[in-house]
Symmetry: C2
Subunit: 161 residues, 2 copies
DNA sequence: CGTGAAAGTTTGATTGT
DNA sequence: ACAATCAAACTTTCACG
């Protein structure tokens, strides 16, 4: 499985990608105005980003507070026994659940950091029970309830050109 | 500061919003086909979502692996002294740094969970030093290096209609 | 890379349910 | 109040210079 080399980006690429990370709803004309390029030049670059897989996807970010109460939690998890298959099974379960926002395998005493999104404290508690308490391959887990989200997003710092 | 009540959503709203959370690049025509509505009916609903602030923003999600090495870390942080102003200052610093992807205030012995994105292990280490080690109001912090991202996103589970 | 024409998409007025 | 249709405005796309 060959890894394609990272495409070289000039300064305009970096500025375009940063603009798109902030707001992907702009027109080619707008983007061109920001970076000093014609709409079609911008379009050619965007097409390249998609072809090269630089832009994985384009999503709408919903505001949690406008859907009635929303509860977030960060859960630290350590498995009881480790094997390729057990990790695979755990990861598959995380991916399959719409209430699991994010799941990262990490180094150190904890194996995973999982971010949960629930409709209420009770919902969140039941979710934790279902995902972690009911799994007999989980040695221990700790739930950190989120009081306040200071910053959110998936933006990457781009390499300098 | 009055909180507007959560707008009631019918089943089509929930399906539309879920589609948009997965892929906001589709046309009104496509979306209409998925939920059985005409493009303009879809458009009126989307306009309402934006007016009501349900859709906070629309962003491009970049693929970390295509930009050369990218290192993620989850950092658990506890402040030394707590006050409204000290928390404000810390939050402002997190918001201002482009390498801070996410920052949540949490309950329990840890005060914050911070997600960092860096260009290399060394970059990540220096970032941690700058953000946390150099801050004399931080009692302790623990860095959990991310081995593998099992799932990522900001999708919310929507309330049943 | 820019231009401009063709294709496709969004928008808004109108009408009907 | 909400949905469908149609035409106008805008946006994206693509061949060419």
């Amino acid at each position: 499985m060959p890894e394609s080399p990272p495409p070289r980006l000039d300064e305009i690429d970096v500025r375009l990608l940063d603009l798109l990370q902030q707001d992907a709803g702009r027109t080619l004309h707008d983007l061109g105005g920001q970076v000093g390029l014609s709409p079609s030049a911008v379009q050619r670059r965007l097409a390249r980003y998609r072809r090269d897989g630089l832009i994985a996807r384009q999503v709408a970010v919903l505001d949690p507070h406008r859907f009635g109460p929303t509860v977030l939690a960060v859960v630290l998890v350590t498995l009881a026994r480790e094997s390729f298959e057990l990790h695979r099974a755990f990861a598959a379960r995380m991916r399959a659940d719409p209430q699991v926002q994010q799941c990262h395998r990490v180094a150190g005493p904890w194996d995973y950091v999982v971010v949960l999104a629930a409709r209420s404290m009770r919902d969140c508690s039941r979710l934790g029970d279902r995902l972690f308490k009911a799994d007999d391959n989980i040695r221990r887990y700790e739930t950190l309830m989120v009081f306040d989200t200071v910053k959110t997003g998936l933006a990457l710092p781009l390499p300098a050109p």
